[in-house]
C-alpha cells in the first residue's frame, strides 16, 4: 500500500478515525507521518491533514488536472492549496466537485440544516404553497368542482404575485 500523501513510499502508519458514525482511514509512510505530526496523537486531527492536502488534490482529480479558475473572483485550486480558504462565495460552485469529499470528512452531514435567511424562507414557503394549490386545482378540475377550481386559481395568482414581489425586492 502506498502512502496517500506523497504517493511514493510504502505506507507504514495506518490511521483510522471515527467521528460520529463516520470512519476515515489514512495510510502514511514514516516520513509523511512524522511531518504531519501523527506521532503525537493529541496534536493530530485527520481533518487537518485532509484539509491541508486532500482537498486540493481532490479538486485537481475532479477537474482532470486542468487549472480551474473561479469566474467571479479568479481564485484557483493552487490558491486553495496555499491558503486553505476559498476566494468568494461563488467558489463553492466553481469547486463544488472537489469540496464534496472534504465536507464529508469535516462535518456531520453535507446538507445544511438550520437557520435560513427569512427572505429565502418566505419564498420557499410560498413555492411550497404554490405546489399544494396546484394540486388542489388539478383535483377540483378532475372532480368538476368549478367553484373550488376558481378559488384555487385566484389563490395561485395571488401567491405568484407575492413570490414575484419577493424576488424583485
Amino acid at each position: 500500500m502506498m502512502c496517500c500523501v506523497c504517493k511514493e513510499k510504502e505506507a507504514k502508519v495506518h490511521l483510522t478515525q471515527i467521528v460520529g458514525d463516520k470512519m476515515q482511514k489514512v495510510d502514511l509512510c514514516e516520513g509523511c507521518a512524522a511531518q504531519k505530526g501523527v506521532n503525537d496523537p493529541a496534536g493530530f486531527s485527520l481533518a487537518d491533514l485532509l484539509l491541508g492536502l486532500g482537498a486540493s488534490q481532490e479538486m485537481e482529480q475532479a477537474n482532470g488536472g486542468a487549472e480551474v479558475k473561479c469566474p467571479n473572483c479568479g481564485f484557483t485550486q493552487a490558491d486553495f492549496k496555499k491558503a486553505g480558504r476559498l476566494g468568494c462565495s461563488e467558489c463553492y460552485v466553481t469547486f463544488s466537485e472537489g469540496l464534496e469529499g472534504l465536507l464529508k470528512t469535516m462535518h456531520k452531514g453535507t446538507k445544511h440544516v438550520g437557520k435560513v435567511p427569512q427572505s429565502l424562507q418566505q419564498s420557499r414557503d410560498l413555492s411550497d404553497r404554490l405546489k399544494s394549490l396546484q394540486k388542489k386545482l388539478d383535483k377540483a378540475v378532475v372532480d368538476e368542482d368549478f367553484e373550488q377550481a376558481a378559488h384555487a386559481r385566484d389563490e395561485i395568482k395571488a401567491t405568484r404575485e407575492k413570490l414575484a414581489a419577493l424576488s424583485a425586492s
Binding site: C88, L103, H107, T110, K111, H112, G114, K115
Partner: protein, 367 residues
C-alpha cells in the same frame, strides 16, 4: 471616545455573575457571515476590502443593539489597543493583526462584538458570564436576523451560509465556553477528558483559542462541525457535554480534597504565598497561581477574598494591560516587577488561606 475610555473596567466585568460561574467563566456564540458575490477578506484586494467595510459597518452600527457602541477601523487602533482587546477576549488574534479594511463594532456593555473583515466579512459574537449558551445564541440570532434585511448574505439552500473556510460552512456557528478546570488538572484527569470531548467532535483549546496554551487551567470547549446540524442542536449538544465536564470537575475537586487534602492545601497556600509576597513575577506564573487561588476561593479557604478580585487580576496582570498603565515602554523584566507590586498591593488585605477545622487530618506522632 477612545477604546480605553469606552471599555468597562475589568473590576466591573469580573463582578458579573452567571450560572455555574465557579467553573464556567463565560459563554460565547459567534456566527460567520459573508456578503454574496464579494471576495472573502483574505482574497480581496485592499480597495475591495475598504469598500466592503464601508458597506457593512453602517448596517452594523444601525442595529438597535448597537446604540451607544464603540466603532473603529483597525488601522486607527494601536497595537497596544488591539492586544488589550485580545486579552479581554473581545477580538481574535487574527483580527488584531488586521489594519486598513477591517473594523470593529462593540456594544456598550461588551456583550456583543462584531469583527468586520476578519476571516469572513462578518464575525459577530454574543458573550455572557457563566453557562448561558442558549441566551448567547438567542442574542446573536436576533442580531443576525436584523442584519440579513440590510445585507445580502452568501447563502446556498444546499450547504447553508458560505464561509471563507469550509470548516465553518453551513450554520457558520461556533458555540464555546471558557472553563476553569484546576481540579481535573491536579487530579491528572484532564487529558482523558480532552480525548473524550474530542471523540464527540468537539474541540478543546487554550485560553486564547486555536493553538494556544491552557494558561491558568482555563480551557475553551467548542463545536467543530457546522454543517448538517442545526444551531439549537449544536447548542444543546455542547450544553450536555459541558454539564458533564462540570460534574467531573466537581467530583475531581471533592476527591482531591478528601484523598489529597495536604497536596491541595499546599498548592493553594504556596500560590497565595508567592502572589502576595513576590517582587518579580511573570504573566504565565501569575495566571497559574491565580488559578489555584480561584480554586481556594471555591473551596472556602479565603473567607475575605471575592472571586471577582481574582478574575479581575487574571485580566489586569496580563502584559498589555500592565503596559497600558504606564506611559513608558516597559521591558518584560520591568513588567514582572510592576506586576508583583500590583499583586502585593491588591492582596495586602487578603489573609492567608485557612483550612477548615476538621478538614486537616491531625498531625501524627512522627512529626
Amino acid at each position: 471616545m477612545t477604546i480605553h475610555e469606552f471599555l468597562v473596567p475589568p473590576s466591573e466585568i469580573a463582578k458579573r455573575e452567571g450560572p455555574h460561574n465557579k467553573i464556567v467563566m463565560s459563554s460565547r456564540v459567534r456566527l460567520a457571515r459573508n456578503v454574496k458575490g464579494l471576495a472573502f477578506p483574505g482574497w480581496a484586494k485592499k480597495a475591495e476590502r475598504l469598500r466592503i467595510l464601508d458597506s457593512i459597518r453602517p448596517a452594523v452600527e444601525a442595529l438597535p443593539q448597537m446604540s451607544d457602541c464603540f466603532t473603529e477601523t483597525m488601522d486607527n487602533l494601536t497595537l497596544l489597543d488591539k492586544n488589550i482587546l485580545v486579552e479581554r477576549h473581545l477580538i481574535s488574534r487574527e483580527h488584531a493583526a488586521k489594519n486598513a479594511g477591517s473594523g470593529l463594532v462593540l456594544n456598550r456593555d461588551e456583550t456583543l462584538c462584531v469583527m468586520i473583515n476578519e476571516e469572513d466579512h462578518l464575525r459577530m459574537q454574543a458573550l455572557r458570564p457563566g453557562l448561558q449558551l442558549k441566551q448567547a445564541w438567542q442574542a446573536i440570532d436576533t442580531v443576525d436576523t436584523k442584519l440579513e434585511k440590510k445585507l445580502e448574505y452568501a447563502f446556498s439552500p444546499d450547504v447553508g451560509y458560505l464561509t471563507a473556510c469550509p470548516t465553518n460552512l453551513g450554520t457558520g456557528i461556533r458555540v464555546s465556553a471558557m472553563l476553569h478546570l484546576p481540579g481535573l488538572v491536579l487530579a491528572e484527569q484532564i487529558n482523558q477528558i480532552i480525548q473524550a470531548v474530542n471523540k464527540l467532535g468537539l474541540a478543546v483549546r487554550g485560553l486564547y483559542g486555536e493553538g494556544t496554551e491552557a494558561l491558568g487551567n482555563v480551557f475553551q470547549v467548542s463545536n467543530q462541525m457546522t454543517l448538517g446540524e442545526s444551531e439549537p442542536d449544536i447548542v444543546e449538544r455542547l450544553s450536555k457535554v459541558l454539564s458533564q465536564i462540570i460534574e467531573h470537575e466537581e467530583n475531581a475537586r471533592g476527591t482531591l480534597l478528601e484523598k489529597k487534602t495536604k497536596t491541595v492545601y499546599n498548592h493553594i497556600g504556596r500560590a497565595y504565598g508567592i502572589l502576595a509576597n513576590a517582587h518579580s513575577i511573570s504573566s504565565k506564573e501569575t495566571m497559574n497561581l491565580l488559578s489555584l487561588m480561584r480554586l481556594g476561593v471555591d473551596l472556602n479557604l479565603f473567607p475575605d477574598l471575592d472571586r471577582a478580585l481574582v478574575d479581575e487580576l487574571f485580566v489586569v496582570t496580563q502584559p498589555n494591560h500592565l503596559q497600558k498603565r504606564y506611559s513608558d515602554k516597559l521591558s518584560a523584566e520591568e513588567r514582572d516587577l510592576l506586576r508583583a507590586d500590583m499583586l502585593r498591593e491588591r492582596l495586602r488585605t487578603v489573609s492567608r488561606p485557612k483550612p477548615k477545622a476538621g478538614a486537616t487530618p491531625p498531625p501524627s506522632d512522627k512529626n
